[in-house]
Amino acid sequence: MDDLKALYQEVIIDHSRNPRNFGSLESANRSAEGVNPLCGDEITLECHLDGNDIIQDVKFSGHGCAISLASASIMTEMLKGMSKTEAESLFKSFRLRVTGEGDASVDDIGKLEVLCGVREFPSRVKCATLAWHTALAAINGNEKKVTTE
């Protein structure tokens, strides 16, 4: 049961039930779509990037499991105000931590720590990273649909 309690923490359930920054963004100048063909999770991410490549605002919509919704929700909270480079670096650390390759003392991921329980569930790592892949595609102006497969 411990693994499950670590995965489905209250914060995760809360974010999946009441996702923050959910909806579409009127001021968006970048967007991308992501899909996990294995489970059918779909996410659309829209953001507003200013002239200095700072993420001024970001919203997402779509459907998915608790892990993918919570991951997307927490991610949008953290991305606001970040530069493109900072976002890329945070995702790199996050990916290392959720696959169990990272080191908590080196890869500080702040609030995303709550998602680390997923490393005990290899088949669910993609649920946690879908939103990030989609966000980075949007930020980098890559309009091709992102797929986890």
Partner: protein, 422 residues
């Protein structure tokens, strides 16, 4: 000559009430622990586990019978050929075909359906011709038809179902016309458990001059198959869902249709004479079996048929129906569970969602409790679209499952509700 697998070593007495303990003893994998829990395997719709009769048959085949078939002058080649062709006769009996030449060994249902679409479809379809495919088909009985329609200018049309997951026969009848060339329908729907009225649908299709292709992948483990009674033109099934090894299945086709069809693949085994001025093909079924076939798994398929006959397919079906009634009774006491597939004729499939919990989260939590189910779209995305859900959870039963295992599943479902606070 060796008796191959026709004689089962682990016969189970056939009676009204199954000796499930004796049956379970033939499946060592059921003793496995997963995440420290006793395995409860309820993903039989995806693939069933294999009894010792099947695995021992494979072992014995490789230990004492293996060589290539139909080409050796030596003893082992004779043994392998005999074993392989015996399996074909067993398959003939399993679907009640008139002739064993009407049985083609394929990798599974998917290959069987693709063979029909490619060979029969490409050979007969003209622009404007219509292929009717039901809304509840597995992708493997949709996509091959779309591919061949694209190449021939024919049109794929969907036969709708109602909200209980039953084909709407009035709509089907209205759709049939002189343009209809092929009707492709599943006998048992993998995502819903619906048993379709294939015999009646075949009769109507024949009146319109169309041929009927039956996907029997989910029917083979639960129903007595009788192509003579159904009068269908083609029927495909997979061994691995009915206790046989992976990588082996059969395609049944009416002899006169198979004889008129061009080969599906070229190679050894399927020819009569090859020269650069022209090649003549072997007769059926070998015309459709290019290359060295999957001999060992065909012999394993033989053992699986014997396994099912020894228990009795009726007895297997009755046992699974009992489990299905039990799971429905238990589900009915919960007000936050939604069941998909409420057809009057239904096989042992229980597809559901829980309010406020995504199917993947259900699947992960059940897995940690040792309960293996399938979650997702079940390769039936049009069914998901019909019910406006992205994914469902599905428990599917086999002869070795018990009521206690269904209780374990519900215990785990209550854990899900607890974790999600609902």
């Amino acid at each position: 000559m060796n008796d191959v697998a026709l004689k089962s070593e682990f016969e189970v007495a056939s009676s009204d009430a199954l000796d499930v303990d004796a049956i379970r003893a033939q499946f060592p994998i059921l003793e496995e622990k997963v995440h420290g829990q006793r395995l409860v395997y309820l993903d039989n719709g995806a693939s069933s586990q294999k009894p010792l009769t099947v695995t021992k048959t494979l072992e014995r085949y490789y230990a004492s019978q293996h060589a290539n078939v139909h080409r050796g002058v030596h003893e082992l080649s004779d043994r392998a050929t005999e074993a392989y062709e015996t399996a074909r006769k067993t398959a003939q009996k399993f679907v009640n075909a008139q002739r064993c030449e009407e049985i083609i060994f394929v990798r599974g249902t998917t290959e069987g359906l693709n063979l029909v679409a490619e060979s029969y479809g490409r050979h007969t379809l003209k622009p404007g011709d219509e292929i009717l495919v039901s809304e509840m088909e597995h992708h493997s009985n949709i996509v091959p038809w779309q591919l061949i329609a694209e190449r021939t200018g024919s049109i794929v049309k969907m036969i709708p179902m109602n909200d209980d997951g039953e084909i709407i026969l009035e709509n089907y009848q209205e759709m049939l016309s002189e343009k209809t060339r092929i009707v492709a329908v599943t006998y048992v729907a993998n995502s819903l458990g619906t048993i379709n009225p294939v015999k009646e649908m075949t009769k109507l299709a024949h009146q319109a001059g169309a041929v009927v292709v039956v996907d029997a992948a989910q029917a083979a483990p639960h129903l007595i198959l009788d192509v003579a009674d159904l009068d269908c033109d083609f029927l495909a099934l997979s061994g691995h869902k009915m206790y046989a090894p992976t990588g082996i299945g059969i395609l049944y086709g009416k002899a006169e249709l198979l004889e008129a069809m061009p080969p599906y693949q070229g190679g050894g085994e399927m020819i009569q004479r090859v020269s650069f001025s022209g090649t003549t093909y072997a007769g059926i079924p070998h015309k459709f079996e290019a290359g060295t076939p999957n001999i060992a798994d065909a012999v394993g398929f033989n053992a699986a048929c014997e396994f099912m006959w020894n228990i009795g397919i009726d007895a297997i079906a009755a046992h699974e129906q009992k489990l299905l009634r039990y799971v429905h009774d238990r589900a009915q006491t919960m007000n936050d569970i939604r069941i998909f597939g409420n057809s009057k004729q239904k096989a042992g499939v229980f597809a559901f969602t829980l309010d406020n919990v995504h199917a993947h989260d259900i699947g992960t939590i059940l897995d940690r409790k040792g309960v293996a189910i399938r979650v997702g779209h079940h390769c039936a995305m049009p069914v998901m679209q019909h019910f406006n859900v992205a994914a469902t959870a599905r428990a599917s039963f086999a002869v070795y499952n018990t009521q206690a295992e269904i209780d374990s599943m519900f215990d785990a479902i209550f854990e899900v509700k607890e974790l999600f606070g609902c």
